[in-house]
Each structure stands twice: as structure tokens, then as C-alpha cells.
């Protein structure tokens, strides 16, 4: 029986090929637009480290201007000072912790035919690698002792290792940067968390840095900060030390707990710490410490761009228009067929079978529209990628979840769209219609 309905539906769809394609195109465009924008939003708001995002916490302490908050309403700064970064590291109260910041270094490759080049550098502590499950191709991260001893060690990204060492295992090799020789201790595998949650301050969807060195080197080598640096007070003196000791915020601080509930204990520790600092004349504002887990932090930092959300709302409305379009067309089509339906009912078709027949027709349109929508979404994502370029690195791929969602959305919405017209058509009385037409 199902086959028979399918044949009837195909027949009816073919008979009015132009209108059928109009309906399919409308659904396809609607689904395509919706899926394109939903995918971008979905990837923007994706959990970059799902198995432990509830145990990783971002630390904020409010050392800001007594007269005005860092950001209304009473938001603490989005980074911490060098002082806090080093003090909290020294306290080591969490299961794992790492302060970090950005800098640049000029690499001078050994091979003379290779020109020196600038790299983006992440300065961090040893815990950075296990804390964020950073995958290693060769070697491993450095140790806590390397941090303490301020040893010149470096971890390379895969791309940098490819560039400088031709992709071979370079662990143990030396890399010269700005006149100093660093020892390579590890090479990362491909690693591109999206969003780049551990530092959202310079573009949430940028690629991670090219190489990693201990944060403690910042002080000894006077490495400049290249990320955001915000001060509410002038730096007292024109020395690097004065800059480090200032109230300027330029470091991120992450902690990992074995149990999310440990955050309360840690928060108490932070409050205590700030109380101690207040005695030294710092932290003039009321204590306002924050711990945010990964997802909360991304929400706080509005990782999902407003434009992306706006586009998604527009696209969803677009989809609704396309569906309305389909409902109206199906309704016109099915009502135009009341004569045939009355006849079928008169010769014994039950309302249920007719209902099934028409819903199958609507479903077919939905499935075709869904497929078209998928293709269009794929094209749409390519288009978005072209339009935005680097700003949305890797946010434009369809994963199986999204594909399933697209097809489901198409079929369900078309069946919903077909429901009313079908119901209308099938409520034709068997006799009545024969007379007046």
C-alpha cells in the first residue's frame, strides 16, 4: 500500500513539475539558509573540551579603579596582572593551574636558505598541556622545574615543526630565537580547539599559537606582551619590572579541579588572597572574584558573535516564510483536488488512507527540499567562509549532527506544513463534492 501511495504521490508531483520544484526550492532555500547560520552558531557555541569543560575554570580578580568598574555593571577585568599570575601559580592551590599570555619571537632557522620569521608565542606553565589535553606528536610538555628554573625550552606546533625541521622528530634539537638557543621538548599534533577558549582576548576563532615557552621567561627575557594590555593606573617607572609589578592586566589564569565542587574551596582561597592584598594597599574595590567554567566563560565573553546570531534569526524567519509558501501552495493544490478526493472516498478510500497518501506527498517534498537544503547549506558555508575569511576559522563545516538536523528539520517541517492542507483536503465529504463541481 505504501508503494501505491508513493507512486500516486510521485505522479501528482510530476504532473505539476513547476510547482513541485517551486516548493522544493523554497524548502531547500529555507533549510539551506537556516542550516548555514545554525551551523555557524552551533560551532561558535560548541564545547571545545567536552569531557572536562565543567572542571576547567577561568579566574577573574577585581583589582580595578575604585571609581569605575572595568566594565558595567561591576564586571571584574577579563584578565589578571602579572602579580596575580605569579602569586596564584606559587600558591598552587588547584589540581592544575596555568597562567598564560601572548608574545612574539623571531625564529632564526639553522638552515641559511631559510629566512628568519616572526612567530606568535604562547607563554604558559607546564600544566597548560595536560590541563587542556594538548595532543603531542613527539615528546611532551616541559616540567614544573623548567618553569621554576626558567629554562629555555620550547614546544612547537605541528606547522612550525614542519616549517623549521621539515616535520621530523625535532625533540632535543635547538631552535634559535632572537639570539638565544631554545631546546625543543615537544611537537604538537594538529590542535585547533574551536573556540580558542583558553584565550578569547584576541579573536575567539584564531588558530592557536605557533610555539610555546615557559611564562617565567617573560620576566627574565623581558618578552613583550602582544595580547590585550589594560591599565587603570599609570605605570610608575619606565622599567620592565615596574610594568610587571603594575596594575595592568595582561595574563589569563586557568585552573583545573578534580571535582567541579572544588571551585568553592578555591573561591574561598581567592577571597582570602585578595584580603591579604588589600592589606598591602591593593584591590581598592570591593572583593569581586569570579570562577567561570569553560562554557560560562564563553558565554560571558559573548563568543557567539552578535552578527551570527542576528543572521540566524533572519534565516529562521526566512525558513518560516518558505514554509508558509509551501503550506499555501500545498493547500491550493490539495483543495484543487477535492473532486478527485471525493471520488476516491466514494469508491471506498477511508479518510486515513487518503491522509497517508497526501502526507507522503508532503513528506517527499520535504525530503527533496532537505537534500537540496543540505547542498545549499554546504555552499552557504563555503560562501560564509569566503566572506569572513580568517575571522571564522573552521566554523564552516557540516558535521553529522548538523546533517541529521537538516534532514530532520526539512522533513518534519514539511510534514507539519502538509498537515493542515491534508486535513482540509481529507475532510471533503464523499458525496457533496460530486454534485457542485
Amino acid at each position: 500500500m505504501f508503494i501505491y501511495y508513493l507512486r500516486l504521490a510521485m505522479l501528482s508531483l510530476r504532473k505539476n513539475i513547476l510547482l513541485t520544484s517551486l516548493m522544493i526550492t523554497a524548502i531547500g532555500l529555507g533549510i539551506g539558509a537556516a542550516m548555514t547560520t545554525i551551523t555557524v552558531n552551533y560551532l561558535m557555541s560548541a564545547d571545545p573540551i567536552p569531557h572536562k569543560s565543567d572542571r576547567l575554570f577561568y579566574v577573574q580578580l577585581d583589582n580595578w579603579d575604585p571609581n569605575s568598574p572595568y566594565q558595567e555593571p561591576n564586571e571584574p577585568p577579563d584578565q589578571v596582572t602579572w602579580l596575580e599570575a605569579t602569586n596564584l601559580m606559587a600558591a598552587g592551590k588547584a589540581f592544575r593551574q596555568s597562567a598564560m599570555g601572548q608574545s612574539t619571537l623571531i625564529v632564526e632557522p639553522n638552515r641559511p636558505e631559510q629566512k628568519p620569521f616572526v612567530t606568535r608565542v604562547r607563554m604558559a606553565y607546564a600544566d597548560f598541556f595536560p590541563m587542556f589535553d594538548v595532543p603531542f606528536l613527539y615528546g611532551s610538555g616541559w616540567t614544573a622545574n623548567d618553569d621554576l628554573d626558567r629554562r629555555l625550552v620550547v614546544v612547537l606546533s605541528k606547522a612550525t615543526n614542519d616549517e623549521v625541521f621539515g616535520g621530523v622528530n625535532s625533540v632535543g634539537e635547538n631552535l634559535v630565537m632572537e639570539g638565544r638557543s631554545y631546546q625543543v621538548v615537544g611537537v604538537l599534533d594538529d590542535w585547533h580547539p574551536r573556540p580558542k577558549f583558553f584565550d578569547l582576548s584576541t579573536g575567539a576563532f584564531n588558530l592557536p599559537e605557533d610555539l610555546y615557552v615557559p611564562y617565567s621567561l617573560k620576566e627574565s627575557l623581558e618578552l613583550p606582551s602582544t595580547g590585550n594590555n589594560n591599565c587603570w593606573q599609570p605605570v610608575s617607572e619606565d622599567t620592565f619590572q615596574a610594568f610587571l609589578q603594575s596594575e595592568c592586566v595582561n595574563s589569563q589564569f586557568w585552573v583545573e579541579f578534580e571535582d567541579p565542587d572544588d571551585q568553592y574551596e578555591y573561591l574561598a582561597f581567592l577571597d582570602n588572597y585578595v584580603a591579604e592584598q588589600k592589606k598591602l594597599g591593593r584591590f581598592p574595590r570591593e572583593t569581586n572574584n569570579r570562577l567561570s567554567n569553560v562554557m560560562d566563560w564563553m558565554e560571558n565573553q559573548e563568543v557567539v558573535a552578535e552578527d551570527a546570531r542576528m543572521m540566524m534569526y533572519m534565516a529562521l524567519m526566512f525558513l518560516i516564510v518558505c514554509l508558509l509558501n509551501t503550506v499555501a501552495l500545498l493547500l491550493a493544490k490539495f483543495i484543487g483536488r477535492t473532486g478527485e478526493i471525493a471520488l476516491r472516498r466514494a469508491v471506498g478510500a477511508s479518510r486515513r488512507t487518503l491522509f497517508a497518501q497526501h502526507l507522503i506527498e508532503a513528506g517527499l517534498i520535504g525530503a527533496a527540499g532537505g537534500l537540496l537544503g543540505l547542498i545549499l547549506a554546504w555552499l552557504g558555508l563555503k560562501g560564509i567562509n569566503g566572506l569572513y575569511g580568517d575571522q571564522i576559522n573552521g566554523l564552516t563545516s557540516l558535521d553529522p549532527n548538523m546533517i541529521a538536523l537538516a534532514i530532520g528539520l526539512a522533513v518534519i517541517s514539511t510534514i507539519l506544513a502538509g498537515l493542515y492542507p491534508t486535513w482540509r483536503a481529507c475532510s471533503v465529504p464523499p458525496a457533496g463534492q460530486l454534485k457542485t463541481q
Partner: protein, 405 residues
């Protein structure tokens, strides 16, 4: 026109179909009006002049890495060489590039101390050639003199004596004075470091296009010794691309232990800066166009269905004396009524959506003139869409009245 009454009553017998179409038109209007509003809004942001001669400017970064890198010497020599290049109007060292997204800002006060209104301004460190290289107009006061250009170390906290500010900065600092009258006034930076305003330039944008103070800029007469520095170069019209290559090669030829990188034009910088706006605009345009097409085709489809369904009725009308024009008129008027109802709904929902957008995305209020324009366009669109099917309906033979059962 004398068919209005019966058409309306016949429509009421097909309420749902008509209502769906009206709803579609209402939503179409809502989306189109708000999308175009957003497009316009972004356009106006992008249309703000930077104050530069963008078509003829480029910049590059020079970063030293060798131990023997003598930054001050290299900078002086580089600038001299660059200025000597034929076709170069002028060149300056600068710490940040307008619209590029990265730079310095500081707070300026009109009185020393930590109290009082702190006006954020973007800082560009330039030399006495800055004004010509940037192609900004000095509308009052004087340019920096060659002798007052000093060198700034990376962790310096001190400030030179003089500064030049944009008219917008002057307005913000001294709301009661004309910009030109602020020449000679003093501003305070870093709490109590005084800066004398010696000149006013008409316009120059900060590095951050999304900043509300994007017009507030201060030029400071210093060259920076931060290890890495940018040169900003203005060329004769049409010579930029040639000189870009020559300049890069020229600098690379000097064996000074540094890298030359990031050689970019201002045109590219503007494109990058507004890429998001541009992209949103494109996406919205595509939405508007597709939506218009879908809605128009939807109307065509609906009317075609209705015409096919009413073939016999149309034949009967023709038999009873309706002219072709009467039949066309019937469908045109019918569409006009449905569209009008839809647009009326759309009027409300457009405003509602705008209110929500204002609320959720800080978008400005919609200009009222969008609404009547959108309505007229959608009316025309509807009429255009029914025209084809209506003409086919008018072509239906009156003999159909007797032929089909």
C-alpha cells in the same frame, strides 16, 4: 474596480489560503525592511571617512632580531631612504595603523589628577612628516617641528610637551570651545603629565572601527624604539603598487639584522577592518533577494493554482459578459487585497522586530520612510507576480463554460 465587494466576499470563503499568503507577505516585509535597515546602518558605518588618502598609502613592519640591530639608526636611515624614493610624497614612522584593530589608547583630562572626566583617545606616535604622510589637514595651530621629535623606549612613562589632536577630540575635551580655540590649551595624560595642544587636524580615525570614540585621535611627536616599528608611506596617485615593491626591496637590501613583513595597503586594511560588516551586508542582500523571489514565485504559484481550479468559473464569467480586462482585474484586485492585508500586518511586525533588534542588538531605530517604500515595492511585486497567471486566466475561452462539466 466595481468587483471589489464580491471579490472580498469570495476571498472570505477561502480565508486560510489568503491568510497564509498575507502572512508570508507580512514576514517578507518584516525581514526586508529590517535587513535593509541593517545594511544601511553598516553602510553608514563604513562610509565614515578615515581622514586618510587611502588609495595611495601603504605601510610595512620592520622588526629587528640581531644583536647588532641599532634601532634608532636604522629608523632614521630607513625614513630618509623611503622619502627619497621617487613617487613617495612622504613617510613617517607610526606605532599603529588606523582601522587595523590594534593600537594604543590613553585617557586625557583637562585638569591634572585622578578625578574628572577621562576622555579616551587613540595615540599615534609620528614625526613632523606625519601630517603629510597621513594626508590629514591641519585646520588650526602648527605642525610639530623637526627638533621636538624625541625617541620613546618600550617602557617609557613620560610624555613630550606638545600634541596635535583631532577636532572631535577637541570638542570632547572642551565642549564649549570651537576646535580652533583649543590651540594652546593643556591636556593631562597619565594623571598629571601635561600636554600642550599645538594643532588641530580635521579628521583621523582610531585603529578600532567599532569604538564609539573612533574619531578621537592624538598625534604625539615621538619615534618609538620598541624593537619593531611601522613605516607609513604616502605615494603619488597611481604609484603605490610599484613603490610598495621598491620600498620592500630597498629596506631588505640594507643588511640591518631585521625582518620586513606585513607590507599592506590601506585599501586592504579597510577591507579587513570592515570584512564582518561587508559579509553581513552580503548575506542580508542575498536573503532579501531570495526572499523576494520566493515570495513572488509563491504568488505566481498560488494564482496559477487558483486559475486552474477556477477555469470553468472564469469561462462562465466570460460567457456572462466579462471582458478579458475584467478577468485580469479580478485577479489583480484579489492580489491587491491580500497583499494589502499582509502589508498591514507587516507594518506592525516590522516595527515590532525593529524594537526587538534595538533592544537585543543595539541597532538604531528604523527610519519611518522604509515602511511606505517597502509597502509600495511589495505591492508592485505582487501585481507583477499575478500579471502572468492573470493574463493566462484572461485567455481562457468562454466556451469552457459549456465544454467542461
Amino acid at each position: 474596480m466595481n468587483q471589489i465587494g464580491p471579490i472580498f466576499r469570495a476571498l472570505l470563503r477561502n480565508k486560510v489560503g489568503a491568510f497564509l499568503l498575507a502572512l508570508q507577505i507580512a514576514l517578507t516585509m518584516t525581514i526586508i525592511v529590517n535587513a535593509i535597515h541593517m545594511i544601511e546602518n553598516r553602510s553608514s558605518l563604513m562610509a565614515r571617512p578615515s581622514g586618510l588618502d587611502e588609495a595611495n598609502q601603504f605601510y610595512l613592519t620592520s622588526s629587528g632580531y640581531r644583536d647588532d640591530f641599532n634601532e634608532q639608526l636604522v629608523i632614521e636611515q630607513d625614513l630618509r631612504l623611503l622619502r627619497q624614493l621617487p613617487g613617495v610624497i612622504n613617510a613617517t614612522q607610526i606605532n599603529a595603523i588606523p582601522l587595523s584593530g590594534g593600537g594604543w589608547s590613553m585617557g586625557l583630562r583637562t585638569a591634572p589628577g585622578q578625578d574628572g572626566l577621562n576622555t579616551g583617545v587613540a595615540i599615534y606616535f609620528v614625526d613632523e612628516n606625519g601630517i603629510e604622510a597621513l594626508d590629514v589637514e591641519l585646520i588650526a595651530g602648527n605642525n610639530f617641528s623637526t627638533s621636538e621629535i624625541s625617541y620613546r623606549e618600550a617602557n617609557a612613562v613620560e610624555w613630550p610637551q606638545n600634541a596635535i589632536i583631532t577636532a572631535a577630540t577637541a570638542k570632547e575635551l572642551f565642549p564649549d570651545l570651537e576646535p580652533a580655540q583649543t590651540v594652546g590649551k593643556t591636556g593631562y595624560i597619565s594623571g598629571d603629565e601635561p600636554l600642550t595642544i599645538i594643532g588641530i587636524i580635521d579628521q583621523l580615525q582610531a585603529p578600532w572601527n567599532g569604538w564609539s570614540g573612533v574619531e578621537r585621535v592624538m598625534l604625539v611627536p615621538q619615534r618609538t624604539l620598541f624593537g619593531s616599528s611601522r613605516y607609513f608611506i604616502r605615494t603619488e596617485p597611481g604609484q603605490r603598487d610599484r613603490i610598495m615593491k621598491e620600498a620592500e626591496e630597498l629596506l631588505l637590501r640594507q643588511d640591518a639584522g631585521r625582518l620586513v613583513r606585513n607590507v599592506r595597503t590601506m585599501t586592504e586594511t579597510r577591507e579587513d577592518s570592515y570584512r564582518g560588516h561587508q559579509a553581513l551586508q552580503t548575506v542580508l542582500w542575498i536573503t532579501v533577494v531570495l526572499l523576494t523571489i520566493i515570495t513572488a514565485l509563491g504568488i505566481v504559484g498560488m494564482v496559477t493554482f487558483n486559475v486552474n481550479r477556477r477555469r470553468k468559473q472564469i469561462g462562465t464569467r466570460r460567457a456572462l459578459g466579462a471582458s478579458r480586462g475584467d478577468i485580469m482585474g479580478y485577479f489583480m484586485i484579489e492580489n491587491f487585497m491580500v497583499t494589502s492585508f499582509g502589508l498591514l500586518l507587516g507594518l506592525g511586525s516590522s516595527i515590532a522586530l525593529n524594537i526587538w533588534l534595538v533592544d537585543a542588538f543595539n541597532l538604531p531605530r528604523i527610519g519611518w520612510h522604509y515602511l511606505p517604500i517597502a509597502m509600495v515595492i511589495l505591492w508592485l511585486l505582487g501585481q507583477l507576480a499575478v500579471f502572468g497567471p492573470a493574463r493566462r486566466a484572461a485567455g481562457i475561452s468562454p466556451a469552457l463554460a459549456t465544454r467542461t462539466t
